[in-house]
Amino acid sequence: MTHFSESPIIVVVGRLIAPFIQLFGLYVIFHGHYGPGGGFQGGAMLAASFLLIRLCVGEEASQMHFKRSLGAPVGILGAAVFFGIGLVTMGAGGYFLDYSLLPFEDVSASKLRFFGILVVEIGIGIAVAATLVAIFDELMGGADNG
């Protein structure tokens, strides 16, 4: 199966909408720590946009947007960002994810928290987006090797 839909309208509309969803998803990720939303929701939106493309233009054509083989590694990378921050704060003698202990000088604790959370949110966003796409791909591929 290459396409779910042969209709050009769907292909065009899907392609048109997807970037806006992605943009909104990014917005949600970056503003999550002081407004509604956050890494998870934003990531899910990103994933949704990729799934939309996958569904509209078919599997092969959508590979250029997000490669199938990238799903798991990128997801792990996202998780690694989250961990990295946690480990750094632990290395600094604090608790896991104690952002105020991030090793940057001349930055106040609240600023550190602000940026710490932001980076973690980005990591989570990437992880969620990639993982959801990976689940989708796994389901799609499940037909071949189930």
Binding site: V28, F40, Q41, A44, M45, A48, M140
Partner: protein
């Protein structure tokens, strides 16, 4: 006004859930489930949980439904009940 909206949504919730379980075509059931999720998302917003509603809309109504549909395309839409 507020509680009327909530009541309407709750009734729709039950209705969509019921239809989704009753309908004989799995694809229709799954689409109905998507509607259900969307109603849930609206309900969350009404209840003041903006971000949960937001997530439910994206994940429940969006991603989950897509996943269901993919699975159905790879198996079957037929059902005996």
């Amino acid at each position: 006004m507020h509680w009327k909206l909530e009541l309407i949504l709750l009734v729709m919730l039950l209705l969509t859930a019921f239809i989704s379980l009753k309908v004989r075509d799995l694809l229709a059931a799954v689409v109905m489930l998507g509607v259900f999720s969307f109603v849930v998302a609206l309900l969350f917003v009404v209840m003041g949980a903006v971000d949960v509603g937001f997530t439910e809309a994206v994940v429940g109504a969006g991603v989950t439904t897509v996943l269901y549909i993919v699975a159905l395309f790879h198996s079957t839409r037929e059902t005996t009940d």
